[in-house]
Amino acid sequence: MKSRFFKNLTETQTMELARQTASLLPEGANLALCGDLGSGKTHFAKGLGHGLGIPQGIWITSPTFTLINHYQGADHKFYHADLYRLGHEDELFEIGFYDLVKGPEILAVEWWDQFPGTYPEQIIKVILEKVSPITRNLQIQSEHPSFKAEQLNLL
């Protein structure tokens, strides 16, 4: 497992790391965005999406209600899912979640850590932790052999 840790990030820095992460993701990568309500999971997903070439003019919004939002980027499809409202892992099958896990698209999932037994082997975990109202700690734990986490770099 590769792990990177970034301390006391501002909103802008978190966005920058999300964009960099996007540029390093191998095809079909699956990301679990972990952290409490208000820790910045959707914010990180916005950075990922725009980093994958989704135009700035398209809002990447919370999928809590819709469960799975899909976006078409310049070269990539991007799926943004949220399992917050699910009660049991059987429901992942019901909403067609595993098709996305196996597919070639980039998949970023909020509240996947409720069902850690369903993680694929090459999961990339992004763990956000609120330090203060305006700063977050961010940890990236990657089980993906081709994700070059070491190239993430805050200037």
Binding site: F65, R85, L86, E94, P133
Partner: protein, 347 residues
């Protein structure tokens, strides 16, 4: 013309018959809130299973007053946006019903249907007259959109950049341990609270145009609860009231900005959050200030229902905008900064 409407996009399995897009002949909603309250949210698998169980009884009840399926002229169904599994139950049911009865099939966009809800009523309680141009705010668990509706042109002025307003109510209710659904419980607790007890952030700054944002407000409530610690429980009414006021203010600030810059005859508010009494009262005040008429649907038509689907279906059927049996459901719509709506209609 009598249209049967079918709606299964989220919590509710609903069917209704509406005459000429205006008069409700039946409006049946099988609410699943009780099942979901156990889990603190909508549970999709349970939702689709309940739609399966409820759909036929709900349709039978809806068409009984018009003498069964022979009494209707077309079947309208919501095919998106919403939860794909839930939508498919309604779409498949509508297709089957259309095929066996020979009645035409009409696909309805859930969001467009909500805009029709304020203009449906009953023969003994007729709806307000449809007038243009309209400023229309759609606020629900999944959507927060401000429309400017002119003759033959619907323009999206703004939408949420992150969370929907209704989602913020649900998440704040969950954080404060008040339960589900968030709207009614927050409103109930707010009644005994001071809305000025805590200062919470309002709308996006001017550069945000007509767009909304509720993620910052949600996080601010979270920070407030953390700061209060054990005392949060004693301040639960004040937290609810302060949040509710901030959420309503955030919505109205953009509505007011739009009223300043547009010629408007009617100010319309629809969607589940339009059932909130504080919002309703403030919308009426604001409309008076700008000399426009406010239209707020009765609460039963604010939340998801099939009468609005039938009403929108009537408009489409009148223009012979029918669907074929390869009709599919779609889950999301995306909004662009310039106000374009990109979605797959699947009509």
């Amino acid at each position: 013309m009598k249209i049967l409407g079918i709606e299964t996009s989220c919590d509710e399995t609903a069917a209704a018959v509406v005459e000429d897009g205006k008069y409700i002949l039946s409006n049946i909603i099988s609410s699943q809130i009780d099942v979901h309250s156990i889990y603190g949210g909508v549970v999709p698998e349970i939702a689709s299973r309940h739609h399966l169980n409820s759909l036929l009884p709900v349709i039978e009840q809806a068409i009984a007053p018009v003498g069964g399926i022979e009494g209707i002229d077309a079947v309208a169904v919501t095919n998106g946006p919403g939860l794909i599994g839930s939508l498919l139950v309604g779409v498949q049911g509508a297709k089957t019903l259309s095929w066996i009865s020979g009645k035409k099939l009409v696909a309805v966009n859930h969001l467009e249907a909500h805009l029709k809800a304020p203009f449906i009523g009953w023969k003994n309680n007729p709806p307000p007259e449809y007038q243009l141009p309209q400023l229309s705010l759609l606020v629900s668990g999944g959507h927060t959109i401000l429309y400017y509706v002119q003759k033959e042109k619907v323009e999206i002025l703004g939408a949420t950049r992150d969370d929907a307003a209704g989602e913020a109510f649900d998440k704040v209710a969950k954080m404060t341990g008040l339960g589900y659904p968030g709207g009614p419980v927050i409103e109930k607790y707010s009644k005994k609270g001071n809305p000025e007890a805590f200062r919470l952030p309002r709308a996006l700054h001017k550069k945000g145009g007509y767009d909304f944002s509720f993620s910052g407000l949600k996080t601010a409530v979270m920070n407030l609860i953390e700061n209060l610690g054990v005392e949060a429980a004693d301040s639960i009414h004040d937290i609810a009231a302060s949040f509710q006021m901030a959420a309503v203010d955030s919505l109205l600030e953009k509505v007011q900005l739009a009223l300043e810059n547009h010629e408007v005859e009617l100010l319309v508010v629809a969607g589940g959050v339009a059932a909130n009494s504080l919002l309703r009262g403030k919308v009426i005040e604001l409309a008076e200030k700008y000399g426009v008429a406010a239209v707020l649907p009765p609460k039963i038509l604010c939340t998801d229902n099939a009468a609005m689907v039938a009403a929108k279906g009537y408009e489409l059927a009148k223009d012979k905008n029918f669907s074929s049996y390869d009709l599919n459901a779609f889950s999301s719509s995306f909004f662009t900064k310039r106000g374009g709506l990109l979605n797959k209609k699947g009509r």
